[in-house]
């Protein structure tokens, strides 16, 4: 129902034989679905034959989200041990009101069906590890849980590789990982979580822009850093990871983006003073200049350059990595970068991105030097705007608005 990138074929192309094959497939699929519905309608989540049926169906159709939920209910209805009452973190679930969010038709008879929601604490005391001080059985249940959770992670890997954009698989995987925190000793859980970084690495090699995988990586890192798992910062490692990704492929916008988001914490944690921050900014500017010399037509690089300049100029209410730059220093940064870009234009006069940057920076310079109207044409935003009009006529409406704003800005500064 949501086709992307599939070539159009005539709809009448199906032969009678193909139609018959379709009907056979449908029959098998529906039999499987009916078998599962038969058990779930009776809330028979502890029926040992139900779990393997969900594996079968999910391999045919991982988008069938209800079946992932059935699988979760199977796990929390006997396959996994019950977590001890003390191990429920207060933030285990975003859902604050179980009565409003739990589907009653499925929750009635299975008190543990909503494992993500802290159930009635009274029901937890019946759990294995909650009451009996039997150390041996606790160890056994940990081993068993660990094995089940690892096997669940393994189950989703081939599905993720085949359907890397299926939200429900990613979501299930996160749920399994949260179960590891709830049910396994911290070192073991941390171990499981760290293993996930390798999977994301693999996914990002396959598709370097997959935003599910990038988002998943940020989620993993945030959880690994929390007191539930490692309890230490990974910001240096993550920053190094973006360097590695960028070195492998300059136009990886997602990697540049992540880099831009990490640097605040990076500098804070390094305890960087103003000079260290300025030095950091210089290094980053050098890095992106180097990249622009190789790929001046690359949008990712220009966004990153403009991002760094936004850190120099600062915008209202937004924190920047270099908060204490003097106006004089800001001006010299801007002049230095404008000069670099103008040099680039000597070799690449027909790419629009450098002109957009020059327009933006010329406007910023005007604001920083009120009253001083540059003598050179390159100080005039309208000069760059004229170039943009020629190179990108599709955005004529935008350039008209920009021109109006420039005039307004000029009028304001004269008054």
């Amino acid at each position: 129902m949501d086709n992307h990138g599939i070539a159009r074929v005539a709809r009448t192309a199906r032969t009678e034989e193909q139609r018959q094959q379709d009907l056979d497939k449908i029959q098998k699929y529906k039999q499987l679905d009916d078998a599962i519905r038969d058990k779930t309608s009776r809330h028979a989540y502890d029926d040992p034959t139900l779990f393997p049926l969900t594996s079968k169906l999910l391999r045919l159709n991982p988008e069938y989200y209800t079946i992932w939920n059935v699988r979760r209910r199977c796990l929390t209805s006997g396959l996994l041990s019950r977590p001890s009452a003390g191990s429920w973190p207060s933030t285990a679930s975003p859902s604050t009101s179980p009565s409003a969010t739990t589907n009653p038709s499925s929750a009635v008879s299975s008190s543990s069906s909503s494992a993500a929601i802290p159930p009635n604490p009274a029901s937890l005391t019946t759990g294995k590890s909650g009451t009996t001080a039997d150390v041996e059985s606790a160890v056994d249940s940990t081993d068993a849980d660990s094995e089940i959770l690892r096997s669940e992670l393994a189950f989703t890997v081939p599905l993720l590789l085949e359907f890397p954009k299926c939200y429900w698989i990613w979501k299930y995987r996160k749920w399994i990982l949260e179960q590891a925190i709830l049910r396994l000793p911290r070192p073991l859980a941390s171990n499981v979580w760290e293993g996930e970084l390798a999977l994301v690495y693999k996914m990002l090699v396959k598709d370097r822009r997959n935003f599910h995988a990038w988002g998943y990586r940020r989620y993993l890192v945030a959880r690994l850093e929390s007191a539930d798992l490692l309890g230490r910062s990974l910001v240096e490692d993550e920053f190094a990871y973006t360097t590695k990704m960028i070195r492998g492929d300059l136009s990886n916008f997602s990697a540049w983006h992540n880099r831009s988001r990490l640097m605040f914490r990076l500098l804070d944690e390094r305890g960087a003073d103003d000079e260290a921050r300025a030095a950091f900014l210089d290094t980053e500017l050098n890095l992106v200049q180097e990249a622009l010399n190789v790929g001046p037509e690359d949008q990712s690089l220009w966004y990153y350059h403009r991002y760094l300049i936004s850190q120099v100029i600062g915008s209202k209410g937004m924190p920047t990595i270099t908060p204490n730059l003097t106006d004089g220093r800001k001006i010299s940064y801007l002049e230095q970068e404008c000069e670099f870009i103008r040099d680039l234009l000597q070799d690449f006069p027909d790419i629009k991105w450098p002109y957009e940057a020059l327009l933006e920076y010329a406007l910023a310079l005007r604001k920083l030097r009120p009253g001083i109207k540059g003598e050179e044409q390159e100080d005039d935003p309208n000069f760059w705007l004229g170039k943009l009009r020629k190179l990108d006529a599709m955005q004529t409406g935008r350039w008209n608005d920009v021109e109006r704003d420039i005039e307004r800005q000029l009028a304001d500064s004269i008054i």
Binding site: M1, D2, N3, H4, G5, I6, A7, R8, V9, D22, I26, Y29, K30, R37, N61, Y64, Y65, T66, N69, R72, S93, P94, S95, T96, P98, S99, A100, T101, T102, N103, P104, S105, S106, S114, A116, I117, K171, W175, E178, F211, W214, G215, R218, S251, F253, H257, N258, S260, R261, D298, Y303, Y307, S310, M318, M394, Q395, T396, G397, R398, D401
Partner: protein, 329 residues
């Protein structure tokens, strides 16, 4: 739209074919794909029905059957699943509310469903009252798609007071990036689909003042490629559905004139199947109801003749939104 007259015949809107295509969708039970996509049935009905309304054939699907099907997807919790027997989830609950709004049938919720209060409570219960975020269902995972869906449906039901709108707004603001766009969660890169949900959520909350409009519009208008189509992120391919995500966002902040409308109209029309109906992600590909709707909504925002006006915030016909919000206010 005088310029459109110079377009060749095959670049006209194939209205009759699109209507027939949408009507045929529920008759394909002998196709394996029909069963594999059951988890999208209620969304599919919303997509198809909205498309039919835009095409000015609002009665091309029978109203009574539509309402019956929607109500058959409801759970006692008030939430809706994708089809009968599928678990309740925010995405389908929003579709259900939108369909009932389209066919003017909120009263059926009271007569035959759980009542609209319970529907609203289901969605409100998915908000994290500390962070302002919304989960899709009891199994967690937050996404600005769910936050938008909740604000959309709750405002249609006149039940926005059940949630903490200010906290939701704060969360959306935390998802903003330097480029003016928004991501799935704080820290995630800007993505056109997510930008639509965040800008629409802020519009419903009457907090457009928090949007960096010029910067965002600049990023959005850079999404147009030389062939006229729009992409979702830098360095990605064009796709008809971004005609909606990008253009509706531009429309909400009053900047649709920043892109080349003639070229986008041409791109969408070239993605039509003018024989069997439907629109695909790009010219020559397989059509589906999702791209059919978002191709039509794109054309509608561009003022293409023969189509009803779409509301860029709710993704419903303007007339529907005016009727529903007018009634509740």
């Amino acid at each position: 739209m005088a310029d459109l007259k110079r377009l060749p015949d095959e670049l006209q809107l194939a209205t009759a074919q699109h209507v027939r295509y949408i009507q045929s969708l529920d008759t394909r039970k002998d196709e394996y794909d029909y069963w594999l996509t059951e988890h999208l049935r209620l969304n599919g009905l919303y997509w198809g029905l909205t498309a039919l309304h835009l095409l000015r054939h609002p009665n091309a699907l029978p109203r009574e059957e539509t309402i019956n099907f929607v109500l058959s997807c409801q759970h006692e919790s008030g939430g809706f699943g994708a089809a009968p027997g599928h678990d309740a989830h925010m995405l389908y609950t929003v579709s259900a509310v939108q369909i009932l709004a389209l066919v003017d049938a909120f009263d059926e919720l009271e007569k035959r469903g759980t009542g609209k209060l319970k529907v609203a409570q289901f969605m409100a219960g998915l908000q994290d009252r500390e962070k302002g975020t919304f989960a899709g269902d009891e199994w967690g995972e937050e996404d600005t798609r769910f936050l938008y869906g909740a604000l959309n449906a709750l405002s249609l039901l006149d039940m926005l007071h059940l949630v903490d709108v200010d906290k939701a707004v704060n969360h959306v603001v935390a998802c903003a990036n330097f480029d003016g766009g928004y991501g799935v969660n704080p820290g995630d890169e800007s993505h056109s689909g997510q930008i639509f949900t965040c800008v629409a959520a802020l519009t419903i909350a009457k907090r457009q003042d928090l949007i960096d409009k010029d910067r965002l519009a600049g990023w959005l208008s850079e999404r147009q490629l030389p062939n006229g189509g729009l992409n979702g992120r830098p360095e990605k391919k064009e796709d008809v559905c971004y005609s909606w995500w990008v253009l509706s966002s531009l429309s909400m902040i009053g900047r649709t004139h920043w892109i080349d409308r003639e070229k986008l109209i041409d791109f969408i029309l070239r993605s039509q199947d003018t024989v069997d109906g439907g629109i695909s992600d790009r010219p020559g590909n397989m059509v589906d109801v999702w791209h059919t709707l978002f191709g039509l909504t794109g054309l509608s925002l561009l003022g293409y003749p023969g189509l009803d006006e779409i509301d860029p915030v709710y993704c419903l016909p303007k007339s529907t939104v005016e009727r529903v919000l007018g009634k509740s206010m």
